[in-house]
Subunit: 301 residues, 2 copies
């Protein structure tokens, strides 16, 4: 599909793209770059790239597809660094969890003859780094492309095929709608998970040891999400402020209703709210976005 | 260990106790009762009890150990119903997620020659009903006993051995401390999960279809917990009001700090908060209360 693709940032997503691109035979050469010498070396040990480059220009040079896989806070600088190295007709894309801010930061540095098509694979794990990636990460998940107004339809189609080749299903939508959808499906859940872990740890009356010991009663589920990469998530919240605050305000309104029901001992409100949770879970399982096994399947292992 | 145990309420926990007691050969006869004729019939089809009784007195009669496994809101009535049928020297216990309210509701009906020892196994899945149980549910998990002041130490030891025979580790603590510990490790996580699922569903700008489709970005984890049994959870919140409101208020305070950090674009506060999540997750995995596999192991399946 491509003679050369360049992956900038060799963490969980970057390395998984490389693994999956190899599996799908999507590129003759996979070039990799990371700003960290340590990460670059570890990526070499795992061996998912054909060439590794300490110089970002060398990695990008000649690439028909260049994918930014760093935390989004680094995009502006990277875009400036690679500007002169981007090939005519190349596709420049990314995997960031926010899209409006990415378009704002990257667009000024995109040469006119380069196709900038932002993308976001809705996939991941709580692990980070070049050892964390694997070829099946995107299988059956969704990737959202948010083309900019002047994106070339043929380039969008090609990027779509690439993500399908990585195992993903592909949707196309507007960047601002993406940012709102992800605010509720991803950003708010992470904020809440980080928050509850903090609350539990700081409670004076319950020791951290007790929280850890009895975590199987619900808490442990939140700790998985709350162990995601801090830099990546800091950048998400710094770059999707309006949408996050919007859904957070709805969440707070709803929580006040539940809080009042607990205060008033209003069993009917609690029961009705709790009843509505099952249908949405069932639908998620039906479309293959989660396992139907109890406790995510970890229980009987 | 026992000639006869009686299980009152044949849902996930009741049926799992029966399965595990059989596995451990802990009772010659396992008698079961459920108020629902339908559940009773389905329990018969699965076949985890030796005898099934539509009459609760028949189930309890002659039992050396009687365990209440219904939602806690039903305990008071059940305790009154079984009062005359409890054997001299029998142990009366339960599996409820709150303990102070259980002691309040059950104690008045406990005959003087019966040992009432409340218990709570910290184990479960998001599934309910007699088909949901399995023998390994308690393996490696913790069960908390909250003896009342006049509990007989020998009876406490016997109940402890029973739970160890079911595969569980056992701790003993005060009921009010139990209720605070569980408020943070279990009740608040469930309230938050139910709440975010409600917020997501009611958002006008994002369709339910989109929430479902892109749920793998975090949201789906919350839907598992939010599909737990509504009756059981209604009763938990009605019966652990003070502790739940206490930890909820801490949660809200902490969330306001994060909200302000998002509003102000304060990356340092966000980064520091997010960084602290990993240690607690690591500790939970180290003591065997969760899997170390990425995405709870569901990812590569």
């Amino acid at each position: 599909m491509f003679d050369k693709i360049a992956i900038i940032g060799l963490g969980l997503i970057g390395s998984s793209i490389a693994h999956a691109a190899r599996r799908g035979k999507l590129a003759k050469e996979i070039a990799g770059h990371d700003a960290s010498a340590d990460v670059l070396e570890r990526a070499g040990v795992v061996g998912f790239c054909d060439t590794l480059h300490a110089d970002i220009g060398d990695a990008v040079e000649g690439g028909e597809l260049v994918i930014l896989c760093t935390p989004v806070g680094a995009y502006r600088t990277i875009a400036e660094q690679i500007q002169q190295h981007l090939e005519e007709g190349a596709i420049l894309s990314d995997v960031g969890s926010v899209k409006g801010a990415v378009i704002r930061d990257v667009t000024p540095s995109v040469p006119l003859d380069v196709h900038f098509i932002p993308a976001h694979p809705i996939a991941g794990t709580e692990f980070s780094g070049p050892e964390a990636g694997f070829a099946t990460l995107f299988d059956g998940r969704w990737t959202i492309l948010t083309p900019v107004p002047n994106s070339d339809p043929a380039a969008v189609e090609k990027l779509k095929s690439f993500w399908q080749g990585l195992g993903s299903q592909v949707d196309v939508m507007d960047a601002s709608h993406h940012d709102l959808v992800l605010a509720i499906t991803s950003h708010l859940p992470h904020l809440i998970a980080y928050n509850i872990v903090g609350t539990a740890r700081d409670l004076e009356e319950v020791t951290e040891g007790e929280v850890i010991k009895y975590s199987a009663s619900g808490f442990r589920d939140f700790t998985r999400i709350a162990s995601s990469d801090p830099t990546m998530w800091r950048d998400v919240f710094l770059n999707n402020r309006a949408a996050v605050l919007e859904v957070l305000s709805r969440f707070n309104d709803d929580l006040r209703v539940l809080q009042k029901a607990v205060e008033d001992g209003d069993g009917q409100v609690l029961f009705d709210t709790f009843t509505r949770g099952r249908a949405i879970r069932r639908a998620i399982i039906e479309i293959g976005q989660d396992t139907s096994a109890p406790n995510f399947g970890r229980n009987k292992s």
